[in-house]
Symmetry: C2
Subunit: 345 residues, 2 copies
């Protein structure tokens, strides 16, 4: 291949080459280049090879913006998570990203900061970019979202919950069933006064559901639930530390702490270590999420394993299936959970 200087078909100096430049260089029409790149089987091997060579010589990079406009599909999926500073959602994003990447799709990511209005505006922005699909976290959205999505006509997957009225598809699990199961486990293991540690009422949809499950486990057995110890910030161990202190002061004595997530549980366990409180001897601690560190804490954290990465992967696959024109059945996938009993309860 000639390295020296631009030839006839070469791109004008200083401009990034376009498909027409490649075409000229390869001595074919623009359409043929488009086909050679997009549907190579429609082009003869020699032509394809000439095009490939021209692409390489010019360093041509197809403009996917133009392609998207012409084909009205972007191969972009938008995802909104409450926060990235949290390994749980990060795992989902990672799973999603990998599935999409393998299919040549790209991920447009936004974080809502647990604010449904920001979620709404991010979703709108993604749709404005003509994302082919959307992945959302949770079931609580602005009322207007439904209309915006319907108007755009793109497939959507909600994750991390099992909404009563899904927008479209769901890849999630039941937070209340999981919390109920965890609570039932604690009761079965002999704990009698189980406090729930989490956000106040209405603080956040998933925390609320978990609290509901905890309450129901008691109700189903005719027991009265223990106290709800409210924390301000569910994403810091500090809340767990404070909760332990409060729990120890309560009478009748609380013998187990069910934390709305593992970060809080870690705070509680650490506070116990510092205060010399035996876990689970004096007080048991259970978490929710089963983060990486759960088995490594001392004592190992009893918790609920949730399908973080799988939700992302499944959401991605559902979207891709739908975009490929395949029917997605069922539209609501419950990825389940698992009670993981370690030493802390």
């Amino acid at each position: 291949m000639s390295e020296d200087g631009r030839q006839d078909g070469g791109a004008r100096r200083g401009r990034r080459p376009r498909m027409a430049d490649v075409a000229a260089r390869a001595g074919v029409s623009l359409v043929t280049v488009s086909r050679a790149l997009g549907q190579p089987q429609l082009v003869s091997p020699e032509t394809r090879q000439r095009v490939t060579a021209a692409v390489a010589e010019l360093g041509y990079l197809p403009d996917l913006v133009a392609g998207s406009l012409a084909s009205s599909q972007t191969r972009i999926v938008g995802a909104v998570v409450p926060t990235l500073a949290n390994s749980f959602f990060a795992a989902s994003v990672q799973g999603l990203s990998e599935v999409l990447d393998a299919a040549g799709y790209q991920l447009l990511l936004g974080n809502s900061g647990y604010d449904t209005r920001r979620e709404q505006s991010l979703a709108a922005a993604f749709l404005g970019r003509r994302a082919d699909g959307l992945v959302l976290t949770g079931s609580r959205h602005e009322a207007a979202l439904r209309g915006v999505i319907a108007g755009a006509g793109v497939p959507v997957v909600e994750t991390w919950e099992l909404p009563a009225e899904p927008l479209d598809m769901v890849a999630g699990f039941s937070n209340d069933a999981a919390a109920e199961a965890m609570t039932a486990g604690l009761l079965d293991w002999g704990y009698r006064r189980i406090a729930f540690v989490g956000l106040p009422d209405g603080g956040e949809s998933r925390s609320d559901q978990r609290r509901k499950g905890w309450r129901r486990a008691h109700a189903d057995r005719g027991l009265e639930a223990g106290p709800h110890i409210a924390v301000e910030d569910a994403n810091s161990p500090v809340g767990g530390e404070a909760a332990l202190e409060r729990a120890l002061a309560l009478a009748p004595a609380v013998d187990a702490l069910f934390c709305a997530n593992d970060t809080l549980a870690l705070g509680a366990i650490v506070a116990c270590q510092k205060a010399g409180v035996a876990v689970p001897g004096r007080i048991a601690v259970a978490g929710f999420g089963d983060f990486d560190l759960a088995p490594h804490l001392v004592p190992g954290l009893t918790t609920v394993r949730v399908p973080g990465g799988e939700m992302g992967e499944t959401a991605g696959r559902m979207l891709l299936d739908r975009l490929a024109g395949r029917r997605v059945e069922p539209r609501v996938v419950d990825l389940g959970f698992e009670i993981v009993r370690r030493a802390s309860a």
Copy 2:
């Protein structure tokens, strides 16, 4: 506003409205709509108001793909991180995302899995989407990347390191200086045989640099560095646990473990707890990163605080400045680090 049925200027049924539909409805030309939306100050208040009303009535969402093609700017920034399953990079992405969001930019995210070829192909894909800027992690890239970026002519920020030959701009810190400072601290505090726990040689750029700093701190004082305890996976506490076991078996006795990151350090501390090894009495443990949990471990983790979120924010701001046509000086920003001494060393 009339709810009932489409009117003259309304969009054809079943199609999503375009700018022309809005224009017809508002009784102005398409250009005016474009201006009313993009540069409202160029349009009279009444007209602007008519357009706004028409937009609302039709539920019009501008097509940013078309806009991008026409204006040749996408307001999209692409970012590549090694992994999201790691709170360190997640913090950077979060910081970046927030800065971009506030400026009306969107984030296209990819994870390379610590593979430079995947980084390269992601970067190329982002450039194909005509991202206005790129944020990369680290300084080790495929050779071809430089040319691809130069060809696209977009601003780039490298993060998490201080590359010797930056691609363009940098928002990072010196891993070797930080590791050297941490090691110097350990030496100052009286530890004499400090093992480094991290990936094997050449495993990863940042781990290598940290090891280099550890070695240099010794060399500068005419001391011989302790052993390098290699682990397979630096992102799991398991490596730290294994490392502790190996360290305890060494003679002469290792009295401090300097782990290439906090996750490994956590593994080591936990292993000590389990084995009843006093920290720092028998062996001190230092980490790198200062993740959320560091102050909450028992004992609190002595570590290096790195500017995770700030690198993301700074990278975002540098990009935005450059895109706004402002000069960015200096192009290499060292965000520094901080030695945080807690109880573990």
